[in-house]
Symmetry: C2
Subunit: 90 residues, 2 copies
DNA sequence: AACCTATTTAGATACTTTTCTAAATAGCTG
DNA sequence: CAGCTATTTAGAAAAGTATCTAAATAGGTT
């Protein structure tokens, strides 16, 4: 089940871009929303799905909510890919 | 775009199971369909998506169509995962 | 407390995906 | 070629997902 949630989470380009943004630093929900031509409520919905998948975590500071990437959740996906015979580093 | 197609393809449990089945040997469309509680037409639809994603290839023999896994397509996904900082083999 | 700003939640709508049934195709085999 | 088997395609219905607007919450600030 975890795997399904993870893969569904990254099967959307908006959510992948959010993860990429968070690679180097945290951003608030508002800062993330600015990167898209979408309403804040919509971005908030994507953040919720990423959070549910465990791919990001949130942290309140002042009245902002900052998001952080948690890439370790991908390890299961990685193992699955390897199990199918994908060859590792190239 | 390729990435999006690949990730959408594996974001479905039926399609993931098809890939797993094909890991060790080829199977015909009918043999694959038998593994699921779904109509053959439905499985055929999933096979079409996997084919479009380049994850499987087909090969006619008699009047069967056999499918083969092509895991190399996953390399792009793997690179993306690594780029996010997922640590490799554990 | 009243207000302001950041963000989420609720509910509606639009779009996409999955599944089904029925019909079509494609290639053997007698 | 007529019939058989395997599979796909077309079209409709059902289910799931993404987006929007409007309203609610939550926490600072004065």
């Amino acid at each position: 089940m975890a795997m399904n949630t993870t893969l569904k989470a990254i099967a959307d380009p908006v959510r992948r871009k959010i993860l990429e943004l968070l690679k180097h630093q945290s951003y608030s929900a508002g800062e993330i929303a600015q990167q898209f031509d979408l309403r804040q409520a919509t971005v908030s919905y994507h953040l919720k799905l990423l959070k549910q998948a465990g791919l990001i975590s949130e942290r309140r500071e002042k009245n902002f909510i900052y998001y952080d990437l948690n890439a370790s959740v991908f390890e299961e996906v990685l193992r699955w890919l390897y199990s199918l015979g994908v060859k590792g580093d190239d």
